[in-house]
Subunit: 363 residues, 2 copies
């Protein structure tokens, strides 16, 4: 039975996770890299939780730490849930490595296919402890911070994939994780989970076709207003490219529409209608281009998918066009900066070999 949990990252996702699990009776520690963000929570001693959760109210936390004090947060816990952005996973791996112990389950939430790198970092730091590294396809809550220690849950994710790397370890891990999140669905491997992350499908293009507005500081609702007919058409094209990747790897082909319906985000309709009328309607568009919608979902999302496409001979012209335009706009070489199959050390594998590697942890 899970008793104690560490949540690493005190953004809206981390706060929702920590508060919800605490109110559900678990002992929860919260850690954040920077002091500034954790300070108001430290002062209040916990997080105020509202919205669509089992129990609303003030969630008292067990330990609240930051920066170099990660040991206090993770020592002795059963599950470590990491909610920092993908570009922070490596840093968290380095910080955690000295304090992990046998039997702990580390869940990258969402994973963005970071578990290969996470495992490699632990190995390179000489970690001998038998921990299990897992990923979810998407954050387990759609939520937003309404103040530095108040978070509002729009929906608890009803449909998401979960797997460990290597996937041979999945059974025990998913049994434990399902105590916390019963709706987790077992993926074939972490790559199947990653290919079902909705963020790279909708975030970058929603920003791109609304960038004029964003730069003129006109505020709008990202899904309710930002998903116009053209945005919806490009979402569909990206989705088709993503589904072709899933097919080439022998994975389920779960369309964005199917995910929106099964996740209870929206009722059946066109892509545009479904997003416009979804429960995510209250989410505002980012107010700047320096947002996770770009800084995470291009280098750790579309770049990885497009590079997988090159490896598997699946065409991804729409993904590549979006990457190219953001490369120009942010003056960043995302193939250099981002997570390609080459950087992951899997650029010599075919689909079968890749799946075998993800199952066993070695080729």
């Amino acid at each position: 039975m899970v008793e104690e949990i560490a949540v690493l990252g005190a953004g809206s996702g981390g706060c929702a996770t920590a508060a919800d699990l605490s109110l559900r009776g678990y002992k929860v520690n919260l850690w954040n890299r920077s002091y500034d963000r954790i300070m108001p929570i430290l002062k209040s001693g916990g997080i105020e939780l509202t919205g669509r959760v089992r129990k609303q109210g003030f969630a008292k936390l067990n330990k609240i730490t930051w920066g170099d004090h990660i040991k206090e947060a993770i020592q002795g816990v059963d599950v470590i849930i990491i909610t920092v952005p993908a570009y922070g996973h490596e840093d968290v791996a380095v910080r955690c490595a000295p304090y992990l112990h046998d039997g702990q389950i580390i869940v990258l939430n969402p994973g963005y296919f970071s578990s290969l790198e996470f495992a490699k970092t632990l190995r390179s730091m000489g970690v001998k402890r038998r921990v299990k590294i897992a990923e979810t396809s998407t954050l387990t809550y759609a939520c937003r911070k309404v103040s530095p220690f108040k978070v509002d849950v729009i929906i608890t994710t009803k449909f998401f994939l979960f797997c460990t790397f290597p996937s041979k370890d999945v059974e025990e891990a998913i049994d434990i994780f399902k105590q916390l999140y019963p709706s987790a669905i077992q993926a074939i491997n972490v790559l199947e989970a990653f290919l079902n992350n909705p963020n790279p499908i909708v975030h970058p293009i929603g920003v791109l076709l609304n960038l004029g507005c964003i730069e003129r500081l006109e505020r709008f609702y990202f899904y309710k207003e930002g998903v116009t007919p053209s945005v919806a058409k490009v979402i569909q094209a990206i989705d088709n490219e993503r589904l072709a990747l899933c097919k080439a790897l022998g994975f389920r082909q779960i369309s964005t529409k199917e995910r929106l319906i099964r996740g209870e985000y929206a009722k059946e309709g066109t892509i545009q209608e479904m997003y416009n009328k979804s429960v995510l309607g209250c989410i505002k568009a980012p107010s700047t281009i320096h947002s996770r919608y770009i800084t995470e979902d291009i280098p750790y999302g579309l770049v990885t998918w497009a590079s997988l496409g090159d490896l598997l001979k699946v065409l991804t012209p729409t993904m590549k066009s979006i990457i190219q335009l953001f490369s120009v706009i942010t003056q960043t070489d995302y193939y250099e900066k981002g997570r390609t199959v080459k950087k992951l050390g899997i650029s010599e594998l075919n689909a079968e070999e890749l799946n075998r590697f993800l199952a066993k942890g070695n080729t």
Copy 2:
């Protein structure tokens, strides 16, 4: 001496051309394909001209015709100025062919590299008359219709290139055209003129990054508000790709900034500042995606440039990304629909052979 001129196309550019030349003392005939657009001008007998022109006022026109009555407009004139969109050039060539006569100068304004196709159409229709076919790099007026027979000129173009196809015929033609537009600059050939068309550089990307706004029916000024920092960065990237094409062909490398300054559109500054503060500030963004900014500047602009890039081994990743996204958005295969080097019959030539062909009219 030029006495009589035909203007084919009664959009804002055609109306400005017809009215300005009429008020400057030329005998001007105006033709338009559709009756609907010409009808108000036919009723009023001419066009009201305002703005930055030598002479404002009501310009009486000599003949006003439409549809199948093109003969009346072009017979006996010295110069035929064609202001229809690039996708209408072929149709106008077919309509004109039977009625052309020796010595006439046909000016595609702007040309979009249509003169090869125009010449081919005349040849295939058995035209033996010795006419000269020329192109301008850009429309000779920045203007907008304020009513169906009223046009306001924002600026008479101060800097544009002009050449005939083949360019060996240019001297006589430019002497005549300069009587009408003294600021015409002789280009090496029609391709150099086409590569200095500003529209494909700024129109598609200005629409793309503001498409959310356009589809939410929010009106904004295209240059004053629509050219945000990100739009400016992509304009610069497209400009660099275009300049690399110019270099590969041995043409002048006239940057967008230089053109804006020499054309008296704007004072020196950043690309964004120059557009935001340019004399074009009053031009509104298109209210729909079904605009010439897309339907002309993708298939007859960026597609031709990108396909030239492939021919000359010049990389055009930014142009190609914009084409790809609009292909998805408008569900159109622009390489199939648009004007590629293959369709132009020049896909087997290198830069030197291409320039020789454009000079002589045969390889």
